[in-house]
């Protein structure tokens, strides 16, 4: 790696690059899926390669290759400079990067106990089979789909300034879905496990960080109740939203909206822009006074957590919303320089050696209230409402105003008590109105770190894994739809 890096960076310097970085990546992945307890698919992957990114005559140039020799690295560096030259006629904004201290030869490894790639496949498949059979044996469960995604990511980065980083992190996501089918009527419902994807090792599947046995034991009962549940009456409700649902609303309506590249139009043709434009920094009332949001790439087991980003910036944590007001953005080095932030907060990421780093999401989290209420205490304060658990369908517009979410379980709240499940629920709101309606946030004991493996952004499309922590929270007067009526039935 180092020989390749040296060869590529030397060549880039010779060709006149003002900035050059070399990134070598190895991504090991394994996806296992079962259908009704039988193996549907097991695929092992190893994606290996390197990339050279240059700033030449004020223009980016990026190239990637797979032949792991110094000669090939030199050729890829030359290609990157060539790409910059071809692109120069359409570049009218010279690239400049925010300064960052040099980190000569640092290493970082994420927090995990057992490398999932060291666990024999029969043990993994056996566990998923046993879990599937447990669910299939319950009354009312007709089908079970089980999936396990695992990733081991190695990144090596070196740049002309002298920073060299070597990093490794692990993440995995188990997911089981039980389906109940009423053949006669043709209706069906599903219920998924809610254990979030995490930056942990195999220990996560054997009891560390999530109680899978307890959750699997309850799923058939929840599913049976959902099959018989009444359809929701659409209207305005108080919503108590569990972190297993709220993380996704945070992701879409705060996480993406506070990416500075979006706010500046860099994603306008694809992922979209943001209503939280730069001129509103320090002024925009994002939500109620109790709303406090942080960005970080440092929280233990977070999916976005890493020591140094893909531009050699040491990762940090910072405020995004304080007392309900927008006070910060997620940045990379170019964005930081463009808007005078002085330093990037370390959000550059590329999902493989084949892709150029872009600003990607940090772990964006809503903070709990010290000494705040429990779930039961929040529910007790609602006369007519819905308690929402688990995420399912999501959609939000290209400026992050208008969103619509569904969930796994919806419990009717009547006079401060849960009164059985509802079906066909979706909640729909505008971002600032929704967060402005947040009346209470739970205490630290209600916080959970949710997240996703599959956040998409950029062209060519890149995926990123990211976590979002939050407490349970109470929202007033949120518009609830009946999805069957929306379908015109």
């Amino acid at each position: 790696m180092r020989r390749l890096a040296e060869a590529a960076l030397d060549r880039a310097r010779e060709l006149g690059a003002g900035h050059a970085d070399f990134r070598f990546e190895r991504l090991r992945s394994q996806d296992i899926s079962l259908h009704d307890g039988k193996l549907d698919s097991a695929r092992d992957g190893e994606d290996l390669g390197f990339a050279v990114r240059v700033v030449h005559d004020g223009t980016w140039g990026f190239a990637a290759g797979v032949d792991l020799t110094p000669d090939a690295a030199v050729r890829v560096a030359e290609q990157a400079v060539e790409v910059a030259k071809v692109s120069r006629p359409v570049n009218f904004e010279p690239v400049e990067l925010a300064d960052e201290p040099v980190y000569p030869d640092v290493t970082w490894v994420s927090a995990y106990d057992i490398d999932p790639f060291e666990v024999p496949d029969p043990e993994k498949i056996g566990l998923l089979t046993e879990w599937s059979e447990r669910l299939l044996s319950a009354d009312g469960v007709d089908h079970v789909d089980a999936a396990l995604e695992q990733v081991l990511e190695n990144k090596f980065y070196a740049d002309l300034a002298g920073t060299i980083t070597t990093q490794q992190r692990v993440r995995l996501h188990p997911l089981l879905t039980a389906t109940s089918v009423d053949r006669a009527s043709g209706s069906f419902e599903t219920m998924q496990t809610l254990g979030p994807p995490v930056g942990r090792g195999w220990e996560y599947l054997t009891g560390t960080g999530w109680d899978w046995d307890a959750e699997l034991a309850q799923i058939p009962e929840w599913l049976a109740e959902k099959m018989k549940a009444p359809s929701v009456d659409p209207g305005s409700y108080g919503l108590v939203i569990h972190p297993t649902n709220l993380w996704l609303t945070i992701h879409e309506s705060i996480g993406h909206a506070t990416e500075l590249d979006r706010a500046l139009g860099y994603e306008a043709a694809y992922a979209g822009t943001s209503f939280a434009t730069f001129d509103k920094l320090g002024q925009l009332k994002y939500g109620s006074d109790i709303m406090n949001v942080t960005g970080d790439r440092t929280v233990e087991h977070g999916l976005s957590t890493i020591g140094y980003d893909d531009e050699g910036v040491r990762t940090q944590s910072w405020d995004i919303v304080r007392d309900g007001v927008l006070v910060g953005y997620q940045l990379d080095r170019r964005m930081a320089k463009l808007r005078g932030f002085g330093r990037s907060n370390g959000c550059a990421y590329a999902d493989s050696s084949r892709h150029i780093p872009v600003q990607r999401m940090a772990n964006v989290s809503v903070q709990p209230a010290p000494g705040g209420p429990s779930v039961d205490e929040l529910i007790s304060g609602v006369r007519r409402g819905i308690y929402i658990v688990g995420a399912k369908s999501w959609s939000i517009d290209m400026q992050r105003y208008n969103f619509q979410f569904t969930g796994q379980r919806f419990f009717r709240i009547e006079d401060g008590r849960l009164a059985g499940q509802l079906r066909d629920v979706a909640y729909q709101a505008t971002t600032t109105e929704f967060w402005g309606s947040m009346e209470a946030v739970g205490g630290p004991e209600t916080v959970l770190l949710g997240g996703a493996f599959n956040c998409g952004k950029a062209q060519p499309g890149q995926v990123a894994a990211v976590s979002h922590g939050c407490p349970v929270a109470l929202f007033r007067g949120v518009n609830v739809l009946n999805t069957v009526r929306e379908a015109g039935r």
Partner: protein, 461 residues
């Protein structure tokens, strides 16, 4: 080691009961821009080798799939052995089927992989620079992306089957906005080689649409007569297509399941005689003519089906559901014919010849959309989808576009929409907006829906 040598050597090294090797060489080049200037670019090459080992056991047949990039002569045997271990560890596969036997093909197996480079934009980039200057002079901002990919795939099987295909895939998307971002328009085009991309023409169309938006009109949520252009229909039909698995339908858990059991094949879905089909030989939309996959997925794809020849398949014929996506294993279980996924989609109707402009001209009052965005499933039972309108909703009054309307969140099922067709226009090659990361080969008509459900107003512009 050439890809062909890699395939032959891996098959020779195999000690499994059977196997398939898929070697893929990919080259790509891209340019991306925003605010009338370049933002990112790239020229990338990648190479992967997937070894699928098949092991017969007392309980059934198992497959082990291991895929790696940067495979060399020295590391190939390790890859083959890893695949064999994976097969032995896996246990019986739900989608097991005999590997595809050889058949006659005209593939140029001996040919090397084809490559693209940043040079594919040698004519496009200067024209884009010119468009930037023109746009700046006319108070417009341009955003967008151009990409060209050449992927050559070699599939070899222990049965003796050999197949090779080079797939060119290209696209260009241009988004035009007013300086305050309040007006927005989009045009997109798929291409095989960028020789047919007219930057000036795309930019002119953006200019016309931004001109339409000089007058803005606020409309509330509700059901509107709506003209959906081919791009929007492509995104809706793609979702319908990937939801059309035979296995899940027969298990009673999709919109294509029949109450009481079975599927809705044979049922009239559409109110007009439309046909939805896939054909690897469709002119202008040519795609891989055989199955090639390194993952079995959800009853839609199977690694056992690698190399299976694809032929024109009607999914909906004259408005009637004609077939569902079916692996060979599921076909064998259910006594039906295999119907593998094919990488293109055509929706058309006999004698449908109207263009968008002609359909607009005979509209008393309605909405003309540009494209749909952030499409997600809300209810699989009806295939109810939600999403947003994007980059131009226009009010049509008295046969003319009279201004731009606010965006909406919509809730609709593509299956229900087919049952409410008021008019079908001529099918045209188009670029899906939402799904063009994965799916670029489509020909769709413009459709008129009398009562499209705009659920709420979106303030996004």
């Amino acid at each position: 080691m050439s890809p062909q040598e890699t395939v032959e050597r891996a098959l020779a090294l195999s000690k499994a009961d059977g196997g398939v090797v898929v070697a893929t060489e990919r080259s790509e080049a891209n340019l991306r821009w925003a605010n009338n200037t370049l933002t990112t670019n790239g020229s990338m090459r990648s190479r992967s080798v997937a070894v699928i080992s098949v092991v017969n056991g007392a309980a059934g047949t198992a497959a082990g799939v291991v895929e790696r990039s940067a495979v060399t002569d020295d590391t190939l045997e390790d890859l083959v052995r890893a695949s064999e271990r994976a097969a032995r560890d896996a246990g019986p596969a739900d989608d097991a089927a005999p590997l595809v036997e050889p058949y006659e093909t005209k593939d140029p197996w001996e040919d090397g992989p084809q490559e693209t480079s940043i040079g594919v934009f040698s004519g496009f980039a200067p024209a884009l620079g010119e468009a930037f200057r023109r746009a700046a002079g006319e108070q417009r901002l341009l955003f967008g992306f151009a990409e060209h990919v050449l992927e050559t795939r070699y599939v070899g099987s222990s049965t003796g089957l050999r197949r090779r295909h080079t797939q060119p895939t290209g696209k260009v998307e241009v988004n035009g906005k007013s300086p305050d971002y309040s007006r927005s328009a989009w045009v997109g085009q798929s291409t095989r080689d960028f020789g047919d991309v007219d930057v000036h023409g795309l930019d002119s169309e953006l200019g016309q649409r931004l001109g339409w938006a000089q007058r803005s009109i606020e409309l509330p949520a509700g059901r509107y007569e709506t003209i959906l252009p081919p791009t929007a229909i492509a995104d809706l039909m793609f979702y319908l297509y990937i939801s059309a698995g035979a296995r899940d339908a027969e298990e009673g858990r999709t919109v294509f399941s029949k109450p009481g059991g079975g599927t809705r094949i044979g049922e009239q879905l559409a109110s007009a005689p439309v046909t939805l089909r896939s054909d690897p030989a469709e002119p202008g939309l040519e795609c891989e003519p055989f199955s090639a996959t390194t993952v079995s997925f959800g009853g839609l794809t199977s690694v056992f089906d690698n190399g299976y020849p694809l032929r024109s398949t009607d999914w909906i014929r004259s408005g009637v559901l004609a077939d569902l996506i079916r692996t060979r294993a599921w076909a064998a279980k259910t006594g039906a014919e295999p119907a593998p996924m094919i990488d293109n989609l055509v929706l058309d109707a006999p004698d449908a010849s109207a263009s968008v402009d002609e359909m607009v001209a005979r509209t008393e009052r309605g909405l003309l959309l540009t494209c749909l965005w952030y499409i997600r499933e809300v209810d699989p039972q009806t295939l109810l989808l939600t999403g947003l309108t994007r980059d131009g909703v226009y009010l049509v009054d008295g046969g003319e576009v009279t201004g731009a309307v606010n965006n909406f969140r919509w809730n609709e099922s593509p299956v229900d929409l087919l049952g409410r067709l008021a008019e079908v226009g001529r099918s045209e090659r188009c670029l899906p907006r939402e799904w063009n990361d994965y799916f670029t080969r489509a020909s769709m008509p413009t459709l008129r829906i009398p009562d499209f459900n705009m659920s709420t107003v979106s303030r996004a512009s």
